[in-house]
């Protein structure tokens, strides 16, 4: 069953502004595939972003789209979702946007368990601003602001999300769009805060400084680094050294969802007010 991608895209805004070979396109394709598979009405769906290369994605999507300030996508999205709890809200953000400047909003959205799907395109770098290191840049890597090698430890975004209370957490990578699409679909279908990290390539800003300026080479680097959760469970620890586990990392269908909690609160308050009248 072929997906009519143009149905979900603003064709007049194409071609996109991303570099040739950029992984964001694969993430957007997977995202549309997931939306289509779920049958979400584009009138009923909002896509919210912050600042950065990834955050330009909503502009190409023919939905209710909101390109906000750096790191703040989740705050605007929380306003949208709380004001319209029956609508679908997706946030798409880069690694710096979501975990550095937006880190506080990220952990609190996880904690609330509000029914928003957060897609993090993790390309380990600030691409748009010129290749500065981000909280997910690997130790030792070169970036515009780590010309002598990165000494900052990197975040594991999946573990961060799990620790903060997200109820669906998965990781995919752009070398396997079909797998990524499955996690995006499951995350979107999940009733609660879901985080899907998509490992992606910025060969222009990260690769160029780390001997991977060719997008194919850099996607192969990602492909060689990832191990599925199922496979990893059977591997000895020494073989897992330096590998990144992909798959559904966490799921909890029991925790109450935030907008449900608030609508129950309204009902309680109004019932009580009614009794008093």
């Amino acid at each position: 069953m072929a997906v009519d991608y143009l149905h979900y895209l603003r064709a007049d805004k194409l071609p996109h502004m991303w570099c040739p070979g950029c992984g964001i396109g694969i993430v957007v394709k997977s995202m549309i595939g997931a939306i289509d598979a779920l049958g979400w009405d584009k009138n009923e769906t909002a896509v919210v972003s912050g600042i950065g290369c990834t955050s330009r994605a909503p502009g190409y999507m023919d939905m209710n789209t909101l390109h906000t300030t750096h790191g703040r996508a989740l705050t605007f999205a929380t306003g949208v979702k709380m004001a319209a709890p029956d609508k679908h809200v997706i946030v798409i953000a880069g690694d710096g946007d979501s975990s550095a400047i937006g880190g506080n909003h990220f952990i609190h959205a996880c904690r609330r368990n509000i029914d928003i799907t957060m897609i993090i395109v993790n390309n380990n770098i600030y691409g748009m601003t010129g290749g500065q290191f981000s909280p997910t840049t690997p130790y030792g890597a070169k970036a515009a602001t780590t010309p002598h090698g990165n000494i900052d430890p990197a975040f594991d975004l999946g573990q961060l999300a799990i620790g903060a209370g997200a109820t669906y957490v998965a990781r995919g990578s752009v070398d396997n769009g079909r797998m990524l699409q499955k996690y995006l679909k499951d995350g979107m279908a999940h009733h609660g805060f879901s985080v899907i990290e998509a490992l992606s390539n910025c060969h222009t800003q990260f690769g160029r400084r780390n001997k991977m300026s060719d997008p194919v080479v850099m996607v192969e680097w990602i492909a060689n680094k990832v191990v599925t959760k199922a496979k990893a469970e059977k591997m000895p620890p020494e073989e897992l050294e330096g590998k990144i586990i992909t798959g559904e990392l966490h799921r909890n269908d029991e925790r109450p969802e935030y907008t449900d909690e608030y609508s129950q609160l309204i009902q309680r308050v109004q019932k009580k007010a009614g009794v008093h009248q």
């Binding site: 906000t68 705050t75 709380m82 909003h105 109004q270």
Partner: protein
């Protein structure tokens, strides 16, 4: 229509409580905030009352987040508000700029306290007036209201929502700690005493809709999310379609429109109380709680034979340029008391545009300016001409 509280009797509310009740009466159904003194009572009342009227209260993780949340909620068609004080106001500035640029209606309350930085968290100041005008980066118009009496706070709150909806901008409701915390007896206004303005929605079908289409006027009609319009909103400079542009001519034209949409109505927005000004030789310019003391000083000066009067700004921004300029041609001097080290006096000097004594009375220690200090300055100016 209900005024929200359903009450029309005499109440004894603080200024902060009045803001919350009046916001609900104005139709506010979404509040996001973060705890900060001296504005917290606004959040307390909103948390209690909004669910009763089916609205939403959310305490966000920080000030930045609460500003983002009210913009997001406003895009779904809700009337929204946040309240804060000095440090929180500083933090909100980036997203306040976003609301100007993306033309999203909302109301931001700042209950002014001492600063800079943490300053005097529980004490009075009026030192955020220039930040209110210019705090976020870039050019933009500002509407800021500075009510000084309790029923006036109620009406100003309703006006703040009306202006936000009418002009598609964030409107600043600027209280000071004394106005926010002082309780006064007040008859809750009946809905027949005020009007409610709701944002103009598009009259065209989605395929013909552009969110910044100035062919409908300087304030383009505003669709809500999830109504089939599927429009794009960004903080980047944009064309009428809402999509980014760097075209210098379009950027220039659109930024000029965004300022003109407010400033062309400056006369209508001006809201001033003129007290004893008809024959005044010395005019006191003041606003907020300081104006209450200034009024006492004017009465006392009159008793002592000095022709003093008071011009009190209830709309502080846009500044009443014409009114102050005209007054400057009739009086010999201005006295400008304010709880800061001289901010609005700069506007009085600019608009008076005359070689005449314009002197400040300034305190920043967290206490109100006593009427006798204003009186003593009035007498000094009357005696020495400076």
């Amino acid at each position: 229509m209900s005024n929200g509280s359903g009450r029309t009797d005499i109440v004894f509310w603080s200024g902060n409580e009045i803001v919350a009740e009046a916001a609900i009466a104005a139709g506010c159904r979404f509040y996001a905030g973060y705890p900060i003194t001296p504005s917290s009572e606004i959040a307390h009342v909103m948390a209690e009352r909004l669910p009763e009227v089916g609205g939403t209260f959310i305490q966000m993780e920080d000030e930045i987040a609460s500003m983002g949340a009210i913009i997001g909620a406003s895009l779904t068609g809700k009337k929204t508000m946040t309240a804060t004080s000095g440090p929180g106001f500083s933090l909100k500035m980036e997203n306040i700029g976003y609301a100007y640029m993306a033309e999203v209606p909302c109301v931001v309350v700042n209950v002014m306290r001492g600063g800079p930085s943490t300053g005097l968290p529980t004490a009075l100041a009026q030192a955020d007036v220039m930040q209110t005008r210019w705090g976020t980066h870039g050019d933009h118009p500002t509407i800021a209201l500075t009510p000084a009496y309790h029923r006036e706070i109620y009406f100003s709150t309703i006006k703040a929502f009306n202006y936000a909806e009418k002009y598609r901008i964030p409107v600043m409701l600027l209280l000071d700690e004394v106005i926010g915390h002082m309780s006064e007896g007040m008859k809750v206004p009946d809905p027949s005493e005020y009007e409610i303005f709701n944002r103009i929605k598009p009259s065209v079908p989605p395929e013909k809709y552009f969110p910044y289409d100035s062919s409908f006027g300087d304030v383009p009609p505003m669709a809500s999310y999830f109504e089939g319009f599927r429009f794009h909103v960004t903080g980047l400079n944009h064309t009428k379609t809402g999509f980014p542009t760097t075209d210098p001519d379009i950027c220039q034209r659109e930024e000029e429109r965004m300022i003109r949409k407010v400033m062309k109505d400056a006369e209508a927005l001006a809201d001033l109380e003129e007290y004893q000004l008809d024959d005044a030789e010395i005019a006191v310019f003041s606003f907020g709680s300081t104006a209450r003391g200034a009024r006492v000083a004017v009465d006392e000066a009159r008793k002592q034979g000095i022709k003093a009067g008071l011009l009190r700004a209830i709309t502080l921004w846009p500044f009443p340029d014409r009114q102050v300029h005209e007054l400057a041609s009739r009086v010999k001097a201005f006295v400008v008391p304010e709880v800061n080290l001289g901010q609005m006096i700069l506007e009085v000097e600019r608009t008076a545009h005359r070689d005449m004594p314009i002197v400040g009375v300034n305190r920043v220690g967290g206490v109100p300016i006593p009427p006798y200090e204003i009186l003593s300055k009035i007498k000094e100016v009357a005696r020495n001409g400076r």
